[in-house]
Amino acid sequence: MTAEAIAGDDGPILSVRGLVKHFPIGSGLSWRPETGVIRAVDDVSFDLRRGETLGLVGESGCGKSTVARTLLRLEEPTAGEAFFRGHDIFTAAEAELKEMRRRIQVIFQDPYASLNPRMRVADIIGEPWMIHPDIVPRAERPERVRALLESVGLRREHADRYPHEFSGGQRQRIGIARAMALNPQVLICDEPVSALDVSVQAQVVNLLEEIQERFGIAYIFIAHDLSVVRHMSHRVAVMYLGRIVEIGDEEQVYNRPRHPYTKALLSAEPTLDFSGAAKRQRIILEGEVPSPADPPSGCRFRNRCWKAQDICAGAAPALEDSSESGHRAACYFPEDTPG
């Protein structure tokens, strides 16, 4: 499962170890030493296997988007390693990085901002081939663009239009078409449906699933909507304040959550259950998420956790297996079901 193996053809397609990203507070131009640091991501490790979807959930400020940006090298990591099929992502030189970028693609959250408003749809979808000219010969590009458009459920004649003529869901599909133009092996979906209407979310989710089934692409699916993540993911990692607090198969995490935060998160999700049972069991957390600039010592969840003891303020708990192999939680008092 979460093998530490060097990536051969059996190993994970993407491997992250000890990823750390700190943002300095204070202007980068000043001569004064940094007045503080935002610990956006603090020691995150996980594997992504071929063809699977790893859901990454957490609330705002937990660092999930930062993980994505660092893996794409839109930000440079402060520490840690990441490997794509054995190649080191963080130390790759420009040419190698460009080649890797063909394989690891991304869809962004905001369909209104992720497309250049001055470019026609045909140019937007064709841009990857401009950057990597050896994939599709120039003459074939217009036809391929139209085929890509159709494959995401839009119409061929939409290629001459501009993004503002489309709705949010349609734009998101254009973004997916653009990402797919390079035949990636990993697709990082950074909150791809959060900004969309409910019925439109389903279209995009189905499209992503279909793509995965046909092409075997691995996804890192980042979202805060638990039900969508549940539907799409094979495995799920829950993040809180820059750390992974629980990771395991989707079924394990959703049905038998071990970490208190996961429990609270799951119980807070509104359901379509009218019996009121869910509501009665709801755990309402006290207070707010602490600032990532000044996180609590030890376990970062401790000041909102109903199980917190003194030990939780000391060393931070590491991700530990339970009797279920592969289902790990970072807690000194996980909710383990006996047996």
Binding site: E59, S60, S167, T271, I284, E288
Partner: protein
Amino acid sequence: MTDAVTDAGAPLLEVTDLRVEFRTGREIVHAVNGAGFRVAAGETAAVLGESGSGKSVSAAAIMRLLQSPPAFVTGGEIRFKGEDVLTMPLNHWRRLCGQEIAMVFQDALASLNPVFSVGWQIAEQFRAHGQYAGGEAGERAVDLLARVGIPDPANRAKDYPHQFSGGMRQRVMIAMAIALGPDLLIADEPTTALDVTVQAQIMELLEDLREETGMAIVLITHDLGVVADVADQVSVMYAGRVVESGRVRDVLGHPAHPYTLALLDSVPQALGKGQKLRPIVGSPPDMARIPQGCAFHPRCRFATEKCRSEAPPPVAVAPGRFAECHHAEAVFNDR
């Protein structure tokens, strides 16, 4: 619309056949096309719809917040406690606003004044309506902050909006809205921008306040889960009209309109594992060019020739429930 019967006599808020147009010089956008719903005292009525359904414009119309131009209310009535909101004199409306009706918006940061402290802004509610003055208004403001669950309220009252997190800001907005004890609170997507745990906190707060003060809440949202959780009544809007309405359990548990049915089918919570989501084909219509007949017909799997030409009348499928569909009975019995 007029068949949506709620209990206990005259409704607190009654919207009838509301029509709102946006005239942009080049074309006319029909944002609301004959929407209507009722809210009884003390209940939570949800208006459920996606982008472009006209729900937020309806709320803005009720609160007389629409700018004319480009928005024009071209038809319908809005009655609050029997009085016509749209035609009443402005100073009478101003008195109602805050004291009897209040509104909470989605984006608290944009709705709060950034240059005044939070305590000052809440106290302003009192000062503007002539209740309390000076120091006492300030104290009442602190009390309100405590009531909505802001820790250390006396100190936090001096802070500015940007110093609060999203959830806290929303609580501040709620404090401002309930300051004068209104009978009706309109909440326009109050938790959409918030995390799920914070959303739960805010919805619980609103429920507590409702129980404590007996005020009614109109909850405008696109989130089915939130509606199922807290609302008593729901009106589902599509393309500017209310296409289905009734008690939440009934409508969401047993829909009678194809759109509601399709909406419920498209959310992940509706599925067992391994099933594919069933999205609604296509996209919502361009509101300047709404399809003939039933606005939903291009995307509806029950659509027939009649749906393309005739706008459907409201059909009462059960007491207190109706749906605007030629095939409402069929949909209702389809389950």
